[in-house]
């Protein structure tokens, strides 16, 4: 275990990639390309300093930034590499300020890497924490927005050099709508930076230590594979998680709806779960796990799907008929479980009016 993370080095990147993908709960995009870019920056001699959340000065200006778009596109239309940096500079110019540090809006998936990459390019530190503690599909589903920060002005940049500044919107749902329309025109992948937050707000609103969390998770999985111990159990131990089921995918329905990957998988249990059937609903991320048609874990708690042998995460677009998987439930951070948060990231926000969120420890 790492004590306090002060800097991300080349040796950490592979582990963060795995940990971030696990926390992505099936979505959030692939961190692989971002990892390679971070590695390039480190090779050039640039650095990625990390500031623990508790040490952030109150009067610092912190910008939350990352990629926006369809994760599958991000893998095919590879970023030019400085999209987020240009978005950051546009926000600085719009507000006429200098930013002190960066933070990820979403530790799960590709956006774990983007702030580290921009930090290396801009010579800024990243803060050890994020706005979700996992991945979610829409921008207003992060703690900044939930706890009162307004995302506008925000800036978006594409790989061609175009910049769109969203100066004002009636609320963050409008910002998401407009940003979504703009990103489609940008070719479904762009960098986005939002209005700077003060350090004291970030300390209150960020899910703490999630870079460290991703790093430790990834290290544990790598180590278990090296030592031939059970990587799935390692993840459970590390995260206070619960093994929900080991099973085989016997049905898979997945289609694109409104820019999202929507569907479900059906599972037949094996091992200790031989008598059970399971079902996981997905909407970019895994949202709801049911055992024998009864809801057991749902958003904002994390439904994680791992390869049952290697413990490596399986994203929604990698799901295949016949795959043997382990389904884990991991508890969401308490900032994501408050009444304010549940309005935005609870089951009803994803169209499940009939499901009431119960913390997974209680089921």
């Amino acid at each position: 275990m790492t004590d306090v993370l002060r800097e991300v080095t080349d040796a950490d990147l592979d582990a963060i990639e795995i940990g971030a993908a696990i926390l992505g709960t099936g979505g959030g995009g692939n961190p692989y390309i971002g990892k390679l870019r971070c590695r390039e920056e480190l090779k050039k001699g640039n650095r990625i300093p990390v500031i623990p959340l508790a040490e952030v000065p109150d009067d610092w200006l912190v910008v939350s930034l990352g990629g926006i778009g369809a994760p599958v596109v991000g893998v095919e239309k590879i970023e030019e590499g400085e999209e987020c940096l240009r978005a950051l500079r546009a926000v600085e110019k719009e507000m006429d300020v200098k930013v002190d540090a960066l933070i990820s809006a979403e530790i799960g998936g590709a956006n774990s890497m983007e702030p580290m990459l921009t930090a290396a390019q801009a010579g800024l530190p990243v803060i050890d924490g994020d706005g979700m503690g996992r991945a979610f599909p829409e921008m207003q589903m992060c703690t900044w927005s939930i706890y009162g920060h307004r995302e506008a002005p925000a800036a978006m940049a594409d790989e061609k050099g175009s910049i769109v500044v969203i100066r004002d919107t009636p609320d963050d749902v409008w910002l998401e709508r407009i940003a979504r329309a703009v990103v489609v025109t940008m070719g479904a992948a762009a960098g986005l930076a939002t209005q700077p937050m003060r350090g004291d707000f970030v300390k209150r609103a960020a899910v703490p230590s999630t870079i460290t969390q991703a790093l430790n998770l990834g290290r544990a999985v790598l180590l278990a594979n090296e030592n031939n111990t059970d990587p799935v159990q390692t993840v459970i131990d590390q995260e206070n998680g619960k093994l929900l089921m080991t099973g085989k995918i016997v049905d898979l329905e997945r289609h694109l709806k409104g820019g999202f990957s929507v569907g479900h998988i059906s599972l037949e249990g094996f091992g200790a779960f031989e008598r059970d059937t399971g079902r996981i609903d997905l909407q970019n991320e895994f949202l709801v796990f049911r055992r024998n048609d009864i809801v057991e874990v749902c958003v904002p708690d994390l439904v994680v799907v791992l390869d049952s042998d290697t413990g490596l995460p399986i994203t929604t677009e990698m799901l295949r008929y016949g795959q043997r998987i382990a389904v884990l439930g991991l508890p969401a951070h308490k900032l994501m479980r408050s009444a304010e948060a549940l309005r935005v990231v609870g089951p009803a926000a994803f169209g499940y009016d009939d499901i009431t969120f119960v913390p997974m420890e209680g089921t």
């Binding site: 061609k160 100066r167 407009i178 703009v182």
Partner: protein
């Protein structure tokens, strides 16, 4: 000879709106809402001074303002009233200086009147000119594009309080970004863009457009009062020509990619008995074809549809079966007839597999 106008008063707005509808060439939206806005603003703030671009300092800041989106939406989703000013102020704050004068990006349709409302409200003069000399459907289709004036920074504002600033790599991508944002705003928004210095404007704009539409409006208005069809006088005064007269017998109109596209067939009446003409349009009329399929006029020359009795301009959206109409043609500004101009607004840009021929040559 056209009379150069020096001010626009409340009494002029009816003529401006009528002339603007004529130069809309079937599109550009009904100038009516903008006329009401301008009349209200002139009542509150006084008439608008119209300046010849030659009388502007080279380092003056000229800002065009306009409505962007589907004109029909504007009639249903009425503007709150201060969106255009919000877009202007937003652009000014990006540029770090105040506008010296307002400019009209498009003399045809709704955007002939909205800038006058903005000029009156802001207490600024307006330049006698525009960027199209007519109406066109996309925002890169202005003479400024030909002279290297960038559409960005561009400010957008809507009635809900959304505000954006665009900085894109070229004017075509400005159009693409602004179009999807406009759709998200509910189909219409107000924009301020193409900020220019006086020196740039002297080179890049089409001149005299506000005088032109006011004069056209006066001709149509006075001929209507005298119970004469204005087409003859318009032809004499504007070098225009009557291309066809008849009855609309078929209209095929679809909404595609945010545009009204389609074609209309007109069967000849009186002197044109036995013949027919087909008009093709994308918001504006772009192509007029004779019965044998040969063109009679094509973009960027102006094809206007007028009511056979009153001479009132008819838009592509209101045109219907049974209308008795005059198809009226007008040569476009010579700037559009250059290679650069035709690349922006010539027949090939709109998907017609044909080289541009001037309306004068086609109707010798």
């Amino acid at each position: 000879m056209m009379e150069q106008i020096k001010t626009i008063t409340r009494a002029d707005m009816a003529d401006v709106a009528l002339g603007g509808a004529f130069l809309g060439t079937g599109g550009g939206g009904d100038p009516y809402i903008g006329r009401l806005m301008a009349e209200q603003a002139i009542d509150a703030n006084g008439p608008v001074t119209v300046l010849d671009v030659e009388d502007i300092d080279d380092d003056a800041l000229i800002v065009p303002v306009a409505m962007m989106g589907a004109p029909t939406v504007m009639l249903e989703k009425l503007p709150r009233g201060d969106e255009a000013i919000a877009a202007l102020r937003s652009l000014e704050s990006v540029l770090g200086r105040k506008a010296t004068a307002i400019f009209c990006i498009e003399a045809g349709g709704l955007n002939s009147t909205i800038p006058i409302a903005v000029a009156a409200t802001a207490g600024l003069p307006i330049i006698d000119g525009d960027g199209m000399g007519r109406a066109f459907p996309e925002l890169q289709m202005v003479s400024m594009t030909m002279f290297g004036v960038h559409a960005c920074p561009m400010a957008m504002a809507d009635e809900k309080g959304n505000a954006l600033v665009l900085n894109t790599v070229d004017n075509l991508s400005t159009e693409k970004f602004a179009r999807v944002i406009t759709v998200e705003m509910g189909g219409a928004g107000m924009i301020a863009l193409y900020p220019m210095t006086g020196a740039q404007a002297k080179e890049a704009i089409l001149r005299g457009s506000l005088s032109l539409i006011t004069n056209i409006g006066r001709i149509i208005g006075s001929e209507q009062k005298a119970n004469r069809n204005p087409a003859d006088k318009l032809a004499t005064n504007l070098n225009g020509m009557r291309l066809f007269e008849g009855r609309v017998t078929d209209v095929d109109r679809r909404t595609e990619g945010g545009f009204a596209r389609g074609q209309a067939t007109i069967e000849g009446l009186d002197a044109y008995q036995g013949g027919s003409m087909t008009l093709r349009f994308q918001n504006e009329f772009l192509m007029a074809e004779r019965q044998d399929g040969t063109p009679s006029a094509m973009t960027p020359d102006l094809i206007c549809l007028l009511d056979l009795e009153t001479g009132q301009p008819i838009t592509t959206e209101t045109m219907a079966y049974g209308y008795r109409v005059i198809v009226f043609g007008l040569p476009c500004d010579p700037k559009w007839r250059t290679d650069a101009g035709l690349a922006l607004v010539g027949p090939r840009y709109f998907g017609y597999d044909i080289d541009y021929q001037t309306i004068e040559n086609l109707n010798m």
